[in-house]
Symmetry: C2
Subunit: 576 residues, 2 copies
Amino acid sequence: MRATRFFISTLKEAPADAEIVSHKLMMRAGMIKRLGSGIYNYMPMGLRIIRKVENIIREEMNRAGAIEMLMPVVQPAELWQETGRWDKMGPELMRVKDRHGRDYIIQPTSEEAITDVVRSEIRSYRQLPINFYHIQTKFRDERRPRFGLMRGREFTMKDAYSFDRNAEGLKQSYQIMYDAYTRIFQRFGLQFRAVAADNGAIGGSGSHEFHVIAETGEDALVYCPTSDYAANMEAAEAVALSATRPAASAALTKTATPGKAKCEDVAELLAIPLQNTVKSIVLTVEGEKEEDKQVWLLLLRGDHELNEVKTSKVAGLANYRFATESEIVEWFGTKPGYLGPINTRKPVNVVADRTVANMADFVCGANEADFHFTGANWGRDLPEPVVADLRNVVDGDPSPDGKGVLAIQRGIEVGHVFQLGTRYSEDMKATFLDENGKPQLLQMGCYGIGVTRILGAAIEQNFDDKGIIWPTAIAPFEVVICPMGMDRSEAVKAETEKLYQAMLDAGIDVILDDRGERPGAMFADWELIGVPHRVVIGDRGLKEGQLEYVGRRDAAATNIPVAGMLAFVQGKLAGA
Amino acid sequence: MRATRFFISTLKEAPADAEIVSHKLMMRAGMIKRLGSGIYNYMPMGLRIIRKVENIIREEMNRAGAIEMLMPVVQPAELWQETGRWDKMGPELMRVKDRHGRDYIIQPTSEEAITDVVRSEIRSYRQLPINFYHIQTKFRDERRPRFGLMRGREFTMKDAYSFDRNAEGLKQSYQIMYDAYTRIFQRFGLQFRAVAADNGAIGGSGSHEFHVIAETGEDALVYCPTSDYAANMEAAEAVALSATRPAASAALTKTATPGKAKCEDVAELLAIPLQNTVKSIVLTVEGEKEEDKQVWLLLLRGDHELNEVKTSKVAGLANYRFATESEIVEWFGTKPGYLGPINTRKPVNVVADRTVANMADFVCGANEADFHFTGANWGRDLPEPVVADLRNVVDGDPSPDGKGVLAIQRGIEVGHVFQLGTRYSEDMKATFLDENGKPQLLQMGCYGIGVTRILGAAIEQNFDDKGIIWPTAIAPFEVVICPMGMDRSEAVKAETEKLYQAMLDAGIDVILDDRGERPGAMFADWELIGVPHRVVIGDRGLKEGQLEYVGRRDAAATNIPVAGMLAFVQGKLAGA
């Protein structure tokens, strides 16, 4: 590609509404252009990257036996009513009426559409397993679109859907997709991590997220550096921090803690470690009638945080909400800050986090303003609690597989694989005939990659103060040739055209910057755009038979003899 | 590709709602699957064809210097309000509100979006000319979606937009696109014709349609076999059928024609040629006030048809409508069937078609029920009329370029190139600075190809009673290998795998039918799907060292020695 036949548009400053680095850099590099809130034009420079991402995904999906098709952007509401998602999904689901007043949605995903295809196309177990995918425009009406392509409204997603005869087959299809995703992210040249994710009502270990590692990531990833344990924060298991409970050694004592409503303040006042305190979290579960209302008390160590997903999995807490202050006063006899499991005004269900259940001589609220109990002990001062994993993992926790301690890093979710089971096939009556001619529900899996989000995530991981640093596989161009004074020097012009043609012939995705810009502006453009390999051709070097090579991460240029440059660049590309 | 790794789904019968052959065959061949009214899943077999069509378009657009980008499916209403299309376009424009109640549209085309990009990106004449295109999902809420991909609601279109400094530049950009379109349709391997089209308010010859020739086409194309004149029916110029007007030879006579309200019936009653009769068409043009209302009388030869587009171009008729019966009675004094230009009750504006203006001794209504005038003559019996080209061309008319006679064939519109001028840049204030630093309006052209419609049009042109006959360039596969008894015969299996691998190595897009179907069912599937080249491998042939080749249009198979088959097929592909 010659730059004068392409469209290059860079900005010195990012627009004011660009908050994060990837958004700023993509705007400055002319890769995207805002059309509306959360809606972007993919400019020529950005589209090239999207196409490279798509092609890698496509090649690996095909290799894994998935079959490409294309489902519509606009889909009839009836299908979404069959599965209940028409009602369950909130305003994030973009709804539209046609000229006859019929309801449609702009697809955020295609579980319903593919299940509709499959229920009429798949009749026999002989046709299974099968996996269909498409790469298509999606729309989610985010309440607050931001961060450019990271949380836009219109975006491109690859979504695949597998169908199997039974749970065992689903597991195999799932593993094939897991492996394909691993290859895809490896080929992108990005640092990534697959983590186990919560999979809601389905249960089991049937869901993983793929994250691009980046300090700016929204999600906390938990992993064990000395084993293969990895999960997102919602799903990471927190074990008890002592394996057994020490014997009680202190007496239960009501202690004045005036104005000390937080564990940190109580610990400071009493000059004890925060780890000896227990905090109280009060939840409400509504019943059919007012008198069926239940109040629950969850106990966590003072330095731990509640994990709301784990909380919803405690038996009886599926539909919990946080209690109101008036409920707390009614059940505990005092306001928040001095609550505890001993001497509540009305009976509450107590659940202790695993770590709390193995504590002795702990400090908790006394259900009286300005007072705490010290020396509280299970069994002696209050009944043995229900025990559950309620808290977020923290750095340094033992790994649940017993093979080390956990670490936490930040990530950006770019892929998700999920065993759906019969969630959709049941509602939509998608069955096949088994070997005995009996209808059976299809076992379904779904597998998504946020195509356009990959661009943002890749940049969050790979940038410096000059701009973007693309991994070669998804760079808009692999190599840029920057001639200095091509219009003035015949030698530069001749060598430039020769090298450009040789690179094209070698199948290198090269752009020749023939715009005639000054070297400073030209180099700044390509550093901002992030092309990984640059060759500079100038009269001074040519006199000595040399060209200049600069890798995007290199501190300095390397001189390479003219005749060796092509091979040198090929070596760099092969090593990338 | 192995058939067992792909998805093949054929039907014996087309669904009842499929009316035309391309819709029936695409449904039967498993290329599309209905999701909703005018909304289709592109199944794997169909998507392969779409991708081939897209790739040919992309290659030729790039070669012509156009630059690919991607504009969003969902676009803010504000842009469409700027150009007035928000109000002007009817219910065909799909409108949608987001969670905040803001208005959006699902794009039917992208003139507004690209002009919004260009008005901020293009600042100087140095950046011109430029041409951006995208291949994107479109939506038009057709009142009555039908004919499968031919008149669907969701479809894929390639739309390109050129921007130039002046009208001369626009003409050049337009010609480049016209030439690119010609190459694109040639590469598809389809019989097509480019015809001049009406370009509304712009005037001049700045619009052409590209049609795939097919007997079932909705549009009539007018062309001169002995010159390069070609236009669609709306735009084709109809000349006067006699160059001069004969002298009057008959007297004006009021003649009883009881119950004969049609020219055909009058001609039969009077035993004269239909070509001697004149028919009357009455139009109304509303004024600001009731008394400003004008009634117009258009006169055509009895065997000719009114061309409504030409009518709207007659000075004063831009906003015409057909007159109501009560208006006709008020102005003419009688009901339709006996109307004419002589003795109207109230004054009307008379416009005669070019052919009528050169008629003498003609027959027309007498403005009295059951009476016509015979022997009517211009100048003598009524004033000389305003003359205009009002009629549709008919087969055998003289070509307006004077180089032969016109013929008519049917076509399906699949492409349109259009000189827009400043229609959008004016409304959206899209300017650039010229050499003198003065802002000038951008001159714009737009260029569309209906990607998914190409599939329907190609089939309407190429089918037989067995199914589709794809041109090789856009066939889902170029070649199918059909082994007979691959599971029983080691020899067949070995030769099949060898040939399959050799074809893959040679870059041939081949599918190996390894499904194990009976030969009859297997051949019927591939004839229905329309793969242009078939190789059959069986034990009987192998014993004699022969394989069988069948071209999709061939009446019989050809035996080819095993070792020569690859070269034979390559020869067929090269010749295609």
